[in-house]
């Protein structure tokens, strides 16, 4: 790596119709952004299970980005609302584990927003860099073993 600074790994869950297409558009438009994101495609943001996010953090992700269509624009009518509703609950759960809120972010990116997608990734990467590595992995692993 060029700097000896911390390069976080971020897992991104992107819905197929809007956000994944938007990320592809960033590519076809050759818009450059940070290399830290690893994308996993789901059909709809409503499929993104809180356990996926916990699993990613547990496996060593320093951040998790969830992207879906803008409210009102979901390919599956209202799947993104379902994702949105789950999100505050998840945040509370993370708080309970002492995981910084900014490590898990929810963003709406439409199929035409390639540039916005790149900006979201850059912004989040900077935020996670500032936070440093996710230390709670150990705490979380301990707690899960307890149950």
């Amino acid at each position: 790596m060029m700097s000896n600074g911390f390069e976080p790994k971020i897992v991104g869950f992107l819905c197929n119709w809007c956000s994944y297409t938007g990320a592809d558009l960033a590519g076809t438009s050759r818009i450059k952004y940070a290399t830290n994101l690893r994308v996993i495609r789901t059909m709809c943001s409503a499929r993104i299970d809180p356990t996926f996010i916990l699993k990613a953090l547990l496996e060593g992700a320093d951040g998790v980005l969830i992207c879906g269509c803008h409210p009102g624009d979901c390919h599956y009518v209202e799947g993104n609302y379902k994702a949105m509703r789950r999100y505050p609950l998840l945040k509370r759960l993370l708080d309970a584990y002492g995981i910084e809120n900014e490590r898990v972010q929810l963003e709406w990116v439409s199929a035409s927003e390639g540039r916005r997608f790149a900006e979201v990734v850059d912004r989040m990467t900077e935020q996670i860099k500032a936070l440093g590595p996710c230390k709670v992995r150990t705490a979380l692993a301990f707690d899960m073993a307890e149950r």
């Binding site: 994944y20 952004y33 059909m43 499929r47 799947g79």
Partner: protein, 568 residues
């Protein structure tokens, strides 16, 4: 499960991937993953030799899982699934890693990009282990089509389908067919009569027994899936249910409201009119100012609402040539009149258009160029002047500020997405871009299909277009539909959700969750059940089921968990 035998294929895409990602290293790293029996880096995976290579490995090495690290799966997943099928392997044993659109094209640091491509490939390798063979699903194709919009695009689509013997329901929201084109006099650049173009089509459509026309009508609902949609069409005659296999959205555009550009005073100054108001004068054959006399000076202003920071950033495409057409129509009606043409840039891109531009200069249209994001200023004429007003223009060509005498100003209003475009998009389940135009499946390779199978878009509802482009799109959409009709039965994706009846507690949490009403509750067994043909695999029910009784085929928890482990 037996140990899988995975083949990994890392595509260079010529230099598209290779110039940033070290494809050999990605393949090398992949070959060390458990289960990987061969890993290759190759120039063009989607080419015939590329696909043959996969087929040969499947047959000779007994591969039962394939990972292709290449472009977006949205681009070539079906290509590679085809290759697997050809080799006798179930096509769902494929997983793609997107190392082009989401890696080599967006990164410049070869080390970091190679690491990312390696991670994404590892994610795919881990995931593909858990893939399952899914059987093909076929559904019947209803040969009828719903066409929404009765302008030139919708009429063309309807005629094309109906004249090939298929039933069409043509739904027009206004009281007459013809759309915006019915309000136009002549067309550019060949000066054909719009009335002739459209009238003949309206006659043919209304006389064709295969076309049912609904006027003053609206599609109230659309349910179902490709080949098997059900719609409700509401009109004065009540609400009629129709069954169709495909939908063509041809809802067109709305002319820009010129009064929004305050500087021009449209709506308050009666001698400032829009291009559509001017078309009406031309059709009546009476070009007159509000005082009822023929104008001596006519000024045409381009890009009203288009190519502007304040209104719409895009070019509306047809206004430049229409403005030139006005020069010709004015000169033939009023040979002594002066025509000023104020433009930002002259876009004469189409066939015959450059010649048309030349003709306009020959008839002595006076061209002046003004600065983008500025507007020529209107000054009232005095009692001694021989004109109604003056237009003050900062002419970029001469570098001088000039006041041009004017009796009538024609504003070339651009096109904008219709007010109901959001509603229509939701009705047929397609997306809109930032300007409100409907989004096509692929801008170059799939211009009339959408992300909803069986729903096509054509004409100006997708973006501004001229008549020939709109007609071409209408015909393209109908060709797609007729290809499906010809097959009779169509293959649909084998990906859907299913309920494990033994695990279902009958809590019914999933029942209201499904956006497509695909979940049925059996009151006898007190278990829920997914009607697979109606399921669109969003996975909402999978995530929500408290008993983990629902499996999202091809998007199972274990597949996604494995991928998460792989990318980290």
């Amino acid at each position: 499960m037996d140990t899988p035998k995975i083949g990994v294929y890392v595509c260079n895409c010529g230099t598209n991937i290779k110039k940033v990602v070290d494809c050999d290293e990605v393949a090398q790293q992949a070959s060390e993953q458990p289960g990987v029996v061969c890993a290759r880096s190759y120039k063009y995976m989607c080419s015939n030799p590329g696909q043959e290579m996969i087929i040969k490995d499947i047959q000779e090495q007994g591969l039962d899982r394939v990972v292709v690290s290449a472009c977006s799966p949205r681009m070539h997943e079906s290509t590679f699934r085809g290759a697997l099928a050809k080799a006798g392997l179930n096509p769902y044993f494929l997983e793609m890693a997107n190392i082009r659109e989401q890696c080599s094209w967006v990164h410049t640091d070869p080390r970091a990009a190679t690491d990312k491509a390696t991670d994404l490939t590892r994610g795919a390798v881990r995931r593909v282990v858990f893939h399952e063979a899914l059987e093909k699903r076929f559904v019947d194709m209803c040969p009828a089509t719903l066409v929404i919009g009765g302008g030139i695009t919708g009429l063309t689509a309807a005629l094309e389908l109906a004249e090939s013997g298929n039933q069409v329901y043509l739904v027009e929201q206004s009281g007459r067919l013809g759309g915006n084109l019915a309000n136009v006099d002549l067309t550019a650049p060949y000066l054909d009569s719009a009335r002739d173009l459209i009238r003949e089509r309206i006659l043919r459509a209304t006389r064709n027994p295969n076309i049912t026309v609904f006027l003053d009508a609206k599609v109230e609902s659309l349910d179902g899936y490709v080949g098997n949609f059900k719609a409700k069409v509401a009109s004065a005659g009540g609400t009629v249910p129709v069954e169709i296999g495909s939908v063509v959205v041809a809802t067109g555009y709305k002319p820009f409201d010129a009064s929004r550009v305050k500087a021009f005073g449209h709506g308050t100054n009666p001698n400032v009119i829009t291009s559509f108001e001017f078309e009406a004068m031309l059709r009546k054959g009476r070009i007159l100012t509000d005082k009822g006399r023929p104008p001596r000076y006519v000024t045409v202003i381009h890009c009203v609402g288009s190519r502007s920071e304040e209104f719409h950033p895009y070019c509306s495409r047809v206004c430049c040539m229409t403005a030139l057409k006005y020069g010709q129509e004015i000169k033939s009606a009023l040979p002594d009149a002066f025509v000023y043409d104020l433009y930002i840039d002259m876009h004469a891109f189409g066939k015959g258009c450059e010649d048309f531009y030349k003709q306009a200069s020959e008839i002595r249209t006076i061209f002046m160029m003004f600065q983008k994001n500025t507007a020529p200023q209107i000054l009232p004429g005095g009692p001694k002047d021989d004109c109604e007003m003056f237009l003050r223009v900062d002419d970029k060509l001469s570098g001088e500020e000039v006041d041009i005498p004017t009796d009538l100003v024609v504003l070339m209003v651009g096109m904008e997405a219709r007010d109901d475009s959001a509603e229509v998009a939701r009705l047929v389940n397609i997306s809109r871009d930032k300007d409100g135009w409907f989004i096509e499946s692929h801008p170059k390779l799939d211009p009339v299909a959408t992300t909803t199978d069986g729903v096509y878009i054509a004409g100006c509802c997708q973006s501004p277009k001229d008549i020939n482009e709109s007609v071409a799109q209408a015909r393209a959409a109908t060709a797609r539909i007729m290809a499906k009709i010809a097959k009779g039965r169509i293959e649909v994706d084998a990906v859907f959700a299913e309920v494990n009846q033994d695990d279902c507690s009958g809590c019914r949490v999933c029942n209201d969750l499904c956006p497509y009403g695909a979940i049925d509750f059996n009151s006898e067994t007190r278990r829920s059940n997914v009607i697979s043909a109606m399921c669109k695999a969003c996975g909402a029910c999978v995530t929500a089921c408290p008993s983990a009784a629902i499996k999202g085929r091809h998007f199972t928890d274990e597949q996604i968990f494995a991928q998460i482990e792989g990318v980290l």
